[in-house]
Point group: C2
Chain length 181, copies 2
């Protein structure tokens, strides 16, 4: 029985996500991805055109920011932390963006775009004076991304060892202050 075109395309994409998340853009080779699916590298080219397009498909993730407007104002901090922990542990998308964004200017630009288009407005809606919103969003991003960096990328042992509750307990008030105070 042969696989359908869509099936192998999905297999390739899954393998590519893993490789890009684990190794970054340069070290995730098309040959390695193809080997993971036990397939010829030329298949990857046929289905995705070239490496850049394959990466674009693999890195097409939706941050799915939650709607904070319905929440009691004093709990936006914890809400954001828990959401991001879920997001990071859910799939490899976040890891891909961070691992590659650090050395790939195009991805960094994309992160700036996501940040400005999605997180900024979200924060702006919370506050009376919207002029402070970008700075506040930036501060929040720094703490959230820093936690992700230490826990999921650099794997600092004490940070890995912390429970979700501990992280929420410590980061919640920080984000609360950055966002709403």
């Amino acid at each position: 029985m042969r696989r359908s075109s869509e099936d192998t395309k999905a297999l390739i994409l899954a393998a590519a996500r893993e490789r890009f998340a684990a190794d970054g853009y340069e070290r995730a080779t098309i040959r390695a991805i193809a080997a993971d699916v036990a397939i010829d590298p030329s298949m990857v080219m046929r289905y995705f055109g070239n490496k850049e397009k394959l990466f674009a498909a693999a890195a097409d993730v939706d941050l799915r920011f939650p709607d904070l407007t319905g929440l009691p104002r004093e709990s936006v901090g914890t809400a954001l932390v828990t959401h991001f922990l879920d997001r990071w542990e859910g799939d490899e998308g976040m890891m891909i963006l961070l691992r590659t964004g650090v050395t790939n200017e195009a991805v960094a630009e994309r992160l700036r775009g996501i940040f400005a288009a999605q997180l900024g407005p979200l924060i702006a809606a919370l506050h009376d004076d919207p002029s402070q919103a970008p700075s506040r969003a930036g501060l929040a991003a720094s703490q959230v991304l820093g936690m992700a960096l230490c826990r999921y990328v650099l794997r600092l042992p004490p940070v890995v060892a912390m429970s979700r509750e501990e992280i929420v307990h410590w980061l919640g008030p920080t984000l609360q202050r950055y966002l709403a105070e």
Copy 2:
């Protein structure tokens, strides 16, 4: 007039630092570094053996943590922020470690070592109950590294636009809470 051996070696090292800081390990090629110094790539090999050793020389940075024990207890937070801002703006060492540590396991391991050997004890000395020190150090690292990531690596515009004073104003209390409360 010919250059002395030590001179060119220093030139190569300086160019390597720039390239590794700007491009990361993979994309910083020996040929590019050599071209920056207007020299033949084989010279780089002669002076540093191979690329790994060149990188080791370029990434041999000292974090130079400050001595917090003499400080009034309530100002350790701001002291740590200002120190790290200085450190990041001083030379390329920090940038090299972060850019490469994200995709290079050996550098990540080294960061874990630095963290455990230098930041951990520093924090432990501040607190009565030393069992909490690793978690606290991890939290502090997450905020400091996250700020560096957003400001110097990803260059999120609002974070870049913030002044040193603003950053100290916002991060100081956060670190103070993580470290000493």
